[in-house]
Amino acid sequence: MLAAVMAAVLASAGCTAGDADGARAIAPQARPQPLQQGSAFMPPSLRAMQADELENPGMLWVARGSKLWQQAEGTDVRSCASCHGAVQSMRGAATRYPQVDRASGRLLNLEARIMQCRVERQKAPPLAWESEPLLALGAYVAFQSQGLPMRPSVEGAARPFFERGRERYHLRVGQMNLSCSQCHDASWGRQLGPETISQGHGTGYPVYRLEWQGAGSLQRRLRSCLSGVRAEMFPYGAEEHLELELYLAWRAEGLALEAPGVRR
């Protein structure tokens, strides 16, 4: 049913030039004006749930992450704290992801970095994408940057990833032949069924999503979007997702991180 509504609403709003039904004119690389974080598009009850330190269910993952931070793992019997010390040293870290790993040249998001640390430095068995421990650690680390502005780097080694991400953001995909831009640049603030379309920044991640009745990463949400337009989802860890995350982080530059967010 949501699919039919989407198709109807966006049938005439697909064009990026300004047109009669009020769709916004968007230059190819412009950012939404004014820039607004995802919680601005939530109803007041959900904003209040996110803002309340106890009511926010994402904080349960942060709490679990705080325990895992101290837990020694692997053959070297090291915890995150063994190398990083107090978690406060992570302040600002999440605002700089995704980033290129200097050693391997790969693009890593925050979850990928944690997975890498675990295998390469803690010498522990790998954590799977979207596994509970990974989400907990990701939430705990991202929480340390709550309120800080996004500041990813898209220069140097990151540039080609950024450009591919930008291209993908504007690419029409799926049975519905929709791009990210058509909803999140041209139609933010408008209704999609019962929902108000956000600008799609992803600054509230890791997020607690009511639909999932649990926590999840931005990558999971991007896969849901692909599924929503009936496009093929890439596997977890695919560069296609990470490039898109980098573009989104650039696009959200200056917006405050609000992890853990609460969304529908």
Partner: protein, 106 residues
């Protein structure tokens, strides 16, 4: 089970104050099916009890209608400073417990 409890820093003797608790739990309703069509077994936290210095002061019976990662808020009074203990158990028999001190002032 991960759980987080909050009570006010200090409470007035005999005056109601709120206890808030959030528990990480899947609260599987028993109404869902897996891809093979089999019912996913119900597993919810069914009972939560609060005891103040050993005396039961609050009890909640929860069911499938309660969302995952339940959040509860309830009011109790305290005649003196003491220890509030919350304990709960789910259908699988897994129990959880949290203790939080309550400071009473006049």
């Amino acid at each position: 089970m991960v759980a987080r409890v909050r009570v006010p820093d200090t409470v007035k003797r005999g005056e109601p104050f709120d206890v808030r608790i959030a528990i990480q739990h899947v609260m599987e309703t028993g109404y869902r099916f897996d891809n093979a069509g089999r019912t996913i077994a119900k597993n919810v936290i069914h009972t939560l009890v609060a005891r103040y210095d050993g005396i039961e002061v609050y009890r909640a019976e929860l069911g499938s209608g309660i969302a995952a990662n339940p959040y509860l808020q309830f009011w109790i009074t305290a005649p003196a400073s003491g220890m509030l203990e919350l304990s709960w158990v789910d259908d699988a028999g897994v129990a959880g417990r949290e203790r939080v001190p309550v400071t009473v002032r006049d």
